[in-house]
């Protein structure tokens, strides 16, 4: 249907403003800022110093590698945990229970991430509820600090991003016709063969989109590593925060920010390439 130019510009202008002013320009600014810095005389100029710092200071790039690795581990654990839950909801639960389970699943994630992390803190810390219960039961004889370590931090990250794995998995599994599983079974396949040859290949798009979102959320998370991780489990976003807010070195912070952005884009691109999908499909 032909539309007037006026209608087109009415739609086009706000969208263009949004994307240009709030997405494109700020990130270009981020890029340029990361290549600027003071020289020996205190004058601003173009430099690679910010990136050189990253590679020469082990604490920076070690944090970077650690963050990437832990985000990958988080994604993998989330996947392992989400798969059976999604399978139960979409294939095993009765249809009436299914709706209720979905609501129960969604509810915690609408509550602020801060509340969820705080809940884990009062559960796990030395004076926390779990320690109190275990002491009362006689399982331990003095309180154990279960918070402020890598395991607690990863569990917190898994917990926070769980939903973004389960929802795409449930929807992709619901689109799997039961008769495919029945046919495989009828043709003699056991449980493992059905998972390997039918369910996992079918769920690939859901797994990809879930994994991308979870990985990105974990990589860019600040709150959970900051509150649940230990003194030694520095997350890369905390480095960025420190540069910006504590040291007020915005150029260095920009370089870090751009590196993080590059890493997440790279991994997402690789994920999409590996599974032969496009971002548009994954998003919808």
């Amino acid at each position: 249907m032909p539309r007037s130019r006026l209608v087109f510009w009415l739609f086009f202008a706000p969208v263009l403003l949004w994307l240009l002013l709030l997405i494109v320009l700020p990130h270009l600014d981020l890029l340029t800022m990361s290549f600027r810095g003071e020289n020996d005389y205190g004058e601003m100029g173009w430099t690679l110093q910010n990136y050189r710092n990253f590679f020469t200071e082990p604490v920076y790039w070690l944090t970077f590698v650690r963050t990437a690795l832990y985000a990958l581990i988080t994604t993998f654990i989330t996947f392992l945990l989400a798969m059976p839950v999604a399978f139960y909801i979409s294939k095993l639960a009765r249809s009436r229970v299914r709706g209720a389970l979905m609501i129960l699943l969604l509810l915690p994630f609408w509550v602020s991430e801060l509340v969820r992390v705080y809940g884990w803190m009062i559960l796990l810390r030395e004076s926390g509820v779990l320690n109190f219960v275990m002491l009362k039961l006689g399982l331990i004889d003095k309180p154990v600090e279960m918070l402020y370590n890598d395991a607690a931090m990863i569990m917190g990250l898994v917990y926070t991003s769980m939903l973004f794995m389960i929802v795409p998995l449930v929807s992709v599994m619901e689109s799997l016709d039961d008769s495919l599983i029945e046919a495989a079974h009828d043709l003699g396949a056991g449980k493992i063969a059905i998972w390997r040859t039918i369910i996992l290949p079918h769920c690939k798009p859901g797994i990809t989109s879930g994994a991308i979102v979870v990985f990105m959320l974990a990589l860019g998370n600040y709150l959970t590593p900051n509150l649940m991780g230990g003194k030694n489990s520095l997350w890369f976003t905390e480095q960025i925060y420190n540069q910006f807010i504590a040291s007020f070195n915005w150029n260095q912070g920009s370089a870090f920010g751009f590196l993080l952005l590059a890493l997440s884009s790279l991994i997402i691109w690789a994920g999409l390439k590996l599974t032969g999908q496009r971002l548009g499909e994954v998003a919808s």
């Binding site: 007037s4 609408w110 029945e182 059905i194 920010g257 952005l261 997440s264």
Partner: protein, 284 residues
Amino acid sequence: MIRSLPRGRGYSWSFNAFIILYFMFLFAPLVVTCVLAFNNSDFPSLPWQGFSLDWFAARGPERIGLFHDDQILRSLLTSLQTAVCVSLLSVAVGTCASFLFEKENFRFKGVLYLLMLAPLVIPGVILGISLLLASNSAGAFLDETFGLDFAVFRPSFWLVVLGQFSFITTFVTLVVSARLRKFDPSLEEAALNLGATQFGVIRHVTLKFLRPALIGAGAVAFLMSFENFNTTLFLVGSEPTLPVNLYLQVRDGSTPVINAVSLLLVVGTSLLALVNLYFTKRED
């Protein structure tokens, strides 16, 4: 395996047990947080000292309940104002964007579409710092060339709104587009054929059809804005939002008043989510 295939007793049993454990894992931190809000103790931990509403209603001086804690109430108000602004703004622009991408054809549509999806894969922290940088540059530029000083370009309420708007609009666009795709274009043609103007058609036919999606997207935008932390952290000025305020308090040691706030948030967001769910279910 699935419901129609014979399942062993052990298989069903262990699967059910796993699901129960999973939901316990999901709700444990929230339940503990909410329950401890009523504990008559100065710390958010066990043992249970008796039921008390102090952390909601006490006026001080030793205990200041939630309803008399000016700092929390002020940040709550800020969060509400932010969320209202963000949801209105993002629904308006997001609707334009879905019309643009679903109904119009123009050069570079693919590029613009990818750009629209970009906020999905940009970590929130990066979005925050690049907006901070860009607004700072813009402010400095205007100050130097025109001698004008705009408060908007410094960390402030409006910068937070813009920052949240920049990525929440993407989610709104995806929700509204999904609904718009189900729209039968012949309805528009019929309305034009019956003598409606182009704007009349959009107002009376298309937007009417989209209304449930607009309400749903607005609710999603409200919740996302209300609980956002990562992006907001870098953009807040002197008026912190509730999550940022709570974060500062949790980091520096907590009192059960945070449990009280959490309880309020859990109840509030659950209600909003349920209402939203009810409306979307009814539309189906």
